[in-house]
C-alpha cells in the first residue's frame, strides 16, 4: 500500500507540476475573478451578452471570428440570447450568397446557420487596412496565447505612455503586457465607449472582463458541459475505485501477500 501511495502521489504531483509550471512563467497579469474557473465553473450569462456587445461594436470592425456561427449565440452554455434575439442579430448582417439560378451572386441578410461575417475579404486586405499588421482571428484567441484570459484581460488595460528612452514607430503603441511591449493595435477601449443594454457602467475594466469572458466562451463553447461531465465522471471513478479496492482486499485475503 505504501508503494501505491508513493505512486499515486507521483501522478498527482505530475498534474500539479505541469499546472503550476504553466502559471510560473506568467508575467504579473491583472487578476480578476473568472466565474468559469474551478470544478463547477460556469459563464456569467450577463457578462457573455455584454461581451458579445463589446465584440460586435468594437472588436469586430477589425477582428474576424470565422469559426463561430450566429446560431451559437443562442446555444446552451453560451450567451443564450433568445431565438428572436439571435435571429435579429443575424439579420443585421449582410452576407453574399449564391450563385442563384441566373448564375449571379447576391446579398441577403444572414441566417442562424451563417458564420460570423468577416470584417475583411482576406488576410491581405486586413493587413493593408491595418498598416501591415494582421488583426488575429478571435475564435480561439484565448487558447492561442500563453497567458490565456488573464493575458487578454491585462492587455486590454495595459496601454500606457512609453517609458522615456523608448521610441515608437508611427502607428505602434506601448502596452506593458504585450510581448516586446510594442503593439500595432491602438487602445481599443475607453470609458463609456459603448452603452450597455442592461445598464451596467461601461468602464474599461468592465468591458475588458466582459469581452474576455465572451472570447473564452468562443474558444471553448462546451466549457460548461465539460465541467459538469467532468465532475460526474470523477465522482463515479472515485466511487468505483473504492469499491474495487475493497473487492481487491477481499480477493487477496485468500493469499498470504500484501496488496
Amino acid at each position: 500500500m505504501k508503494n501505491f501511495i508513493k505512486l499515486f502521489s507521483i501522478l498527482v504531483l505530475f498534474f500539479f507540476t505541469v499546472t503550476q509550471s504553466q502559471s510560473a512563467e506568467k508575467v504579473d497579469y491583472l487578476k480578476t475573478d473568472w466565474s468559469f474557473k474551478g470544478l463547477f465553473g460556469k459563464f456569467d450569462r450577463g457578462s457573455l451578452q455584454r461581451g458579445y456587445q463589446v465584440y460586435t461594436e468594437v472588436c469586430a470592425s477589425c477582428h474576424s471570428m470565422k469559426y463561430l456561427s450566429y446560431r451559437n449565440l443562442g446555444e446552451k452554455g453560451g450567451p443564450e440570447f433568445s431565438e428572436a434575439e439571435v435571429k435579429a442579430i443575424a439579420a443585421s448582417f449582410e452576407v453574399t450568397d449564391g450563385p442563384n439560378a441566373d448564375g449571379e451572386m447576391f446579398d441577403r441578410p444572414a441566417k442562424l446557420s451563417d458564420k460570423f461575417v468577416m470584417p475583411y475579404e482576406n488576410v491581405k486586405a486586413a493587413q493593408a487596412a491595418n498598416g501591415g499588421a494582421y488583426p488575429p482571428d478571435m475564435s480561439v484567441l484565448v487558447k492561442a496565447r500563453g497567458g490565456g484570459v488573464d493575458y487578454i484581460y491585462s492587455l486590454l488595460q495595459g496601454y500606457e505612455d512609453a517609458p522615456t528612452g523608448m521610441t515608437l514607430d508611427e502607428g505602434v503603441h506601448y502596452n506593458k503586457y504585450m510581448y516586446g511591449n510594442k503593439i500595432r493595435m491602438s487602445a481599443p477601449l475607453s470609458d463609456d465607449l459603448i452603452e450597455y443594454g442592461d445598464g451596467t457602467k461601461a468602464t474599461v475594466e468592465q468591458m475588458s472582463k466582459d469581452v474576455t469572458t465572451f472570447l473564452m466562451w468562443a474558444a471553448e463553447p462546451h466549457l460548461e458541459s465539460r465541467h459538469q461531465m467532468g465532475f460526474k465522471a470523477i465522482v463515479y471513478l472515485i466511487i468505483l475505485t473504492i469499491l474495487v479496492y475493497f473487492s481487491m482486499k477481499k480477493i487477496w485475503s485468500r493469499v498470504e501477500s500484501e496488496v
Binding site: K2, N3, F4, L7, F8, I10, L11, V12, F14, F15, V18, T19, Q22, L39, Y67, N72, P136, S139, V140, K143, A144, R145, G146, G148, Y179, A219, E220, P221, H222, R226, H227, M229, G230, F231, A233, I234, L237, I238, L240, T241, V244, Y245, S247, M248, I251, W252, V255, E256, S257, E258, V259
Partner: protein, 420 residues
C-alpha cells in the same frame, strides 16, 4: 505454459478448440502464474494497454471528422471541437491520452530499469519494448502535426530537417520525406497515413511483447527466478486482474482531471494559431515527453553529431541487457546501482527541463553535463558496476522473505526494503 493440458468441458468447445485453440489461450491467460509480490509499479503494463486502446478508439472517431488537407485541417479540428457531438471530449481524450501514454511508458521503463527486468532471459521482451517506444514517439510526433497549428508546422520542419544532417543524401531524403521543397500538404497527408498505421503496428508488437513475457514469466521485485506455478505465484485472474484494474482506475482519475479541467495545459498555446510558413514562433518546443532527447540534440554543437547523439540515447537502451554486467536483477540487492539509478532519474528530469529552456548560457552548459552523464551511466558505470559492486544476499524464494522465515539478519533487513 504447457504445465497442464486444458480440455474444454463442453462438446462444442472441444470441437472448436481442437481446430482453433482459442479456449486454451484464454485458459492460459487467466491461469497465467504471476509472482504474488508484484508491486504497483507492475500495473503499468495493463495501464499501457488501456492507453493504446483508448488512443485507437478515439483516433478512429476523430479520423471520421478530420480532413487531412493543409487548407482544411485546422478548421476541421475546430469543427470537431464545436459541432461534432462530444467531439471536444473525444479530441481532448486523444490529445491528453498521448501524454498519459508517455507518462505510463516512462514509469514502465524506469520500473524495468530498477528491477532489472531487461536482463536474461527477458532481453527480447525489452527490445520489443524499445521498438514500441520508438514507434510511439513517431506516432506522437506525427499526430501533433495533424491539427496544423504553428507548433505542428514548425515542429515538423525542425524534426524532418534533422535528416539533412546525413552526409551527401541528407537533402534528398528531406525532400523525399516532405514530398516537396517544404513542409506542405503532401507532408500532412503522409503523416496522417502513417499516424493511422503506426498504432496498429504497435498493437501487433504489444502482442509479441506479451507473448515473449509469458515464456519466462514476470520478473518481480526480488528479481529472482521462481518456480511456476508455486506458492510464490497467483493466477492472473482474479488476483492480478483486480489489482491492475484498481491501479487503472486511479490512473483514470488523474487522466480525467486533465481531460475535463486542464485539457490544454500539456499542449502549446501556439498550436491554436493556424500554421503559417511565413511566421516562425519565438520558441519551437516539442511536447514534454520528447524534451530530454531534444536537450541531447541541442547540447551537441555539430548538427550531425547531435542527431547521432539523440538517436544513440534511445538505441543504447536496446543493448542495455549486455551493458549491464551484473548478475543480480533487482536494485533492492544492489546498493550502489540503486544510487546510480536515482541519479539517472534526476539526470533525465534535468534534461527534460533543459529541453524546454532556450539553448544558451547556463542552460546549455547544464544540458551538456547531463547529456555526458547519461551516456556515462550506460557506457561506463553500468558495465563496471557489475564487476565492482558488492551485492546483498538474495533470498531463495519470494515466500521466504515475505513470511520472515529467514534466519539471516541481512535477509531480514532485505525483507523490510522489499515490503516498502
Amino acid at each position: 505454459m504447457s504445465d497442464h493440458e486444458y480440455t474444454p468441458t463442453s462438446k462444442v468447445g472441444k470441437w472448436f478448440n481442437d481446430r482453433l485453440p482459442l479456449l486454451t489461450l484464454a485458459n492460459h491467460l487467466t491461469d497465467y502464474p504471476t509472482p504474488k509480490n508484484l508491486n504497483y509499479w507492475w500495473t503499468f503494463g495493463g495501464i499501457l494497454t488501456f492507453c493504446l486502446i483508448t488512443q485507437i478508439v478515439t483516433g478512429l472517431t476523430l479520423a471520421m471528422h478530420y480532413i487531412a488537407h493543409a487548407d482544411m485541417a485546422f478548421e476541421s479540428v475546430e469543427h470537431i471541437m464545436r459541432d461534432v457531438n462530444y467531439g471536444w471530449l473525444i479530441r481532448y481524450i486523444h490529445a491528453n491520452g498521448a501524454s498519459m501514454f508517455f507518462l505510463a511508458v516512462y514509469i514502465h521503463i524506469f520500473r524495468s530499469l530498477f528491477y532489472g527486468s531487461y536482463k536474461s532471459p527477458r532481453e527480447i521482451i525489452w527490445i520489443i519494448g524499445i521498438i514500441i517506444y520508438l514507434l510511439m514517439m513517431a506516432a506522437a510526433f506525427m499526430g501533433y502535426v495533424l491539427p496544423w497549428g504553428q507548433m505542428s508546422f514548425w515542429g515538423a520542419t525542425v524534426i524532418t530537417n534533422l535528416f539533412s544532417a546525413i552526409p551527401l543524401v541528407g537533402e534528398g531524403i528531406v525532400t523525399w520525406l516532405w514530398g516537396g521543397y517544404s513542409v506542405d500538404n503532401p507532408t500532412l497527408t503522409r503523416f496522417f497515413t502513417l499516424h493511422y498505421l503506426i498504432p496498429f503496428l504497435i498493437l501487433g508488437l504489444v502482442v509479441l511483447h506479451i507473448w515473449a513475457l509469458h515464456v519466462p514469466g514476470n520478473n518481480n521485485p526480488v528479481g529472482i527466478d521462481i518456480k511456476k506455478p508455486s506458492k510464490d505465484t497467483v493466477p492472473f485472474h482474479p488476483y492480478i486482474v483486480i489489482k491492475d484494474g484498481f491501479a487503472l482506475l486511479m490512473f483514470m482519475i488523474v487522466f480525467a482531471f486533465f481531460v475535463f479541467y486542464s485539457p490544454n495545459i500539456l499542449g502549446h498555446a501556439d498550436n491554436y494559431i493556424e500554421a503559417n510558413p511565413m511566421v516562425t514562433p519565438a520558441h519551437i518546443v516539442p511536447e514534454w515527453y520528447l524534451l530530454p532527447f531534444y536537450a541531447i540534440l541541442r547540447s551537441v554543437p555539430d548538427k550531425l553529431l547531435g542527431v547521432v547523439a539523440m538517436l544513440s540515447a534511445i538505441l543504447i537502451l536496446a543493448v542495455l541487457p549486455w551493458l549491464d554486467t551484473s548478475k543480480i536483477r533487482s536494485a533492492v540487492f544492489r546498493p550502489l546501482y540503486k544510487q546510480f539509478y536515482w541519479i539517472l532519474v534526476a539526470d533525465v528530469l534535468i534534461l527534460g527541463y533543459m529541453g524546454a529552456m532556450p539553448a544558451e548560457g547556463l542552460y546549455l552548459l547544464i544540458a551538456r553535463v547531463a547529456t555526458a552523464y547519461y551516456f556515462l551511466h550506460f557506457l561506463v558505470i553500468l558495465p563496471v558496476l557489475g564487476f565492482k559492486e558488492k551485492t546483498l544476499p538474495v533470498p531463495l524464494s519470494i515466500t521466504e522473505p515475505v513470511l520472515g522465515g529467514s534466519p539471516n539478519l541481512a535477509m531480514a533487513k532485505n525483507k523490510e526494503s522489499i515490503d516498502k
